[in-house]
């Protein structure tokens, strides 16, 4: 980004004035809440590992340092490296092409990179793009470690993506209120989602058939005398 600086000073000073906005119209400098922002720029990981990063360095940092997702953790409410790097992404404002690399190629290898990209997309992209970009990963069942103030828990990429799509608060950040999927479907902005499991009606039917011990030799409707 043209107006990028190595540290966060200018980014945070431009709040509400000259800085470019995220594609969903929010100011990236205020997407995270003030106490969280301050914890981030105060923490050692930010100062030591997040100075003067570019989009490629983000990958390095995620691979080496991000071992869990989460917002602030522990009694001291330390910001997680995950959150610090999300904040760095807000500052960098990577383009869609870069995000696609994070999600696809990088995401296949490094699950935490995919999680980070999903989180960033949810914060900054328009509703339609959020659904389109994130929903494919409801199929990604890899495990993620998540730290909260209470302790460590196990979660999954699909679970995390689902949280991003349906919850109001994830990783110490209040997510902007996105229109529900069915509203966008009614407006014909989105196609109905097809689960990777296939059509649920088929699934139910095949389960029943399996239980009955009957094969699939019958054509639909044959039980009504139609051929």
């Amino acid at each position: 980004m043209a107006n990028h600086r190595a540290d966060e000073k200018r980014f945070l000073d431009e709040r509400g004035s000259g800085g470019p906005l995220a594609p969903n119209g929010l100011n990236p400098a205020t997407i995270m809440e003030k106490p969280v922002r301050e914890r981030i720029i105060d923490c050692y990981f930010w100062k030591d590992q997040c100075f003067a990063l570019n989009e490629a360095d983000i990958v390095d940092r995620v691979v080496v340092h991000v071992k869990f997702i989460g917002g602030t953790y522990g009694d001291a409410q330390r910001p997680s490296p995950f959150l610090c790097l999300a904040f760095k992404l807000l500052q960098l404002g990577p383009s869609d092409d870069i995000l696609r690399e994070y999600l696809d190629f990088g995401g296949e290898k490094f699950k935490y990179l995919r999680a980070l990209a999903c989180f960033y997309i949810r914060l900054t992209r328009q509703a339609k793009n959020v659904y389109n970009l994130l929903e494919p990963y409801l199929e990604d069942r890899r495990k993620l470690k998540r730290k909260t103030r209470m302790g460590t828990a196990l979660t999954f990429i699909d679970q995390f993506v689902d949280d991003l799509l349906t919850k109001e608060r994830v990783c110490a950040t209040t997510l902007w209120k996105m229109p529900k999927r069915e509203i966008l479907e009614d407006l014909e902005v989105l196609e109905p989602r097809i689960s990777p499991l296939g059509d649920i009606e088929d699934l139910l039917e095949s389960d029943v058939e399996e239980m009955d011990g009957k094969g699939r030799d019958k054509s639909p409707g044959s039980e009504f005398g139609e051929v």
Binding site: F45, E139, K145, D162, L197
Partner: protein, 84 residues
Amino acid sequence: WDDEEDDVDDVDDTDDLDPESEYAAWKLRELRRIKREREAIEGREKELEEIERRKGLTEEERKAEDDEYIAKQKEEKDGKGKMA
């Protein structure tokens, strides 16, 4: 980040230790999501239906229904205060 904490409650996030059960767990989560979405749609339809039904009633019928509902609510409330 800086200190390697030896978490007692540490969680193992290694994948593919048991692909089959991991797939089964994912399938369960996916089915839960589908169920949740369907229930949301059903709930909304039910509410619309109820609104339509109420619109179809006459003033007296609506009143009677409301009174019945209030009476029931009151009964429940009274019942709470007493020991069984």
